[in-house]
């Protein structure tokens, strides 16, 4: 009986759902990571408009991602204009790839 339960719990734990990174799984953070995934850098204002969030809400999510080491935030002046650029770190890129693989496994595709 105990071996059966052990086998069942082992099977459950090997399910791809356990590979879904909670930091990325949150819908707003997922959209942020996805937008950054194919690009060198993305402007803060683009994400604010796309996600329809206010500055403080977006900043909260960005800080969480930065603390997890998934993104890099770079504040610069371009001419007289301040600009905040966001980029995916190599750690973030790796986490996103694993997350995508897990999603494809859940859906039942073999894709990356």
């Amino acid at each position: 009986m105990s071996t059966e339960i052990d086998a069942q719990s082992e099977e459950q734990e090997s399910h791809p759902r356990w590979l879904l990174d909670e930091m990325i799984h949150q819908p707003v953070r997922l959209s942020i990571i996805a937008a950054l995934s194919q690009n060198k850098k993305v402007d803060f204002t683009f994400l604010r408009e796309y996600l329809q969030l206010n500055d403080s809400n977006l900043s909260r999510h960005l800080t969480a991602l930065e603390e997890a080491g998934y993104i890099e935030i770079n504040k610069v002046f371009e001419g007289k204009r301040p600009r905040t650029w966001l980029a995916l770190s190599s750690q973030g890129q790796e986490a996103f790839q694993k997350y995508m693989q897990a999603l494809h496994r859940i859906v039942g595709e073999s894709g990356k």
């Binding site: 759902r17 799984h25 819908p27 997922l30 959209s31 942020i32 996805a34 937008a35 950054l36 995934s37 194919q38 690009n39 060198k40 850098k41 993305v42 402007d43 204002t45 683009f46 796309y50 650029w85 995508m100 999603l103 494809h104 859940i106 859906v107 039942g108």
Partner: protein, 139 residues
């Protein structure tokens, strides 16, 4: 199980939409290719309208202004891509081949020769631009 699968499908769709929206605000949105495709047709047509030297000057002027515009437009966009999907590199290969081929095949320069060369040169660029534009509008 089915709910989990549905949620995964929704997440994949959210990812696709976010990537598409980012592409729309990047230099890979197709605008640069569409503008250059149009300018190549206009530029080459100038050689059928004006005498060679004047057409050359006007075309050089257009190309210089368009180059500055391209650099400024690309740098001001809110998303900077890792890779530029730019077909100009292969345009540089087939454009002289088309032009020389046309001059060799039609030494008497039939009417609208340069316009036809311009259209043939611009078509692949316009096609790439249109594809990129369509992909970036799907978000």
């Amino acid at each position: 199980m089915e709910a989990e699968k549905m949620e995964a499908v929704e997440r994949l769709e959210a990812i696709r939409k976010a990537q598409s929206a980012a592409q729309k605000h990047s230099p890979n949105n197709g605008t640069i290719q569409l503008v250059w495709g149009g300018l190549i047709i206009v530029g080459l047509a100038l050689f059928d309208i004006f005498p060679g030297i004047w057409a050359g000057f006007i075309w050089a002027g257009i190309a210089i202004v368009a180059s500055f515009w391209t650099a400024r437009y690309a740098s001001r966009l809110k998303v900077q891509p890792r890779k530029m999907r730019n077909p100009f590199i292969w345009m540089a290969i087939y454009y002289p081949v088309l032009l020389m081929g046309a001059i060799l095949l039609f030494p008497g320069k039939p009417p609208f020769l340069f316009t036809i060369v311009g259209v043939l040169t611009a078509l692949p660029i316009l096609w790439v631009g249109w594809q990129l534009r369509r992909a970036s509008q799907e978000g």
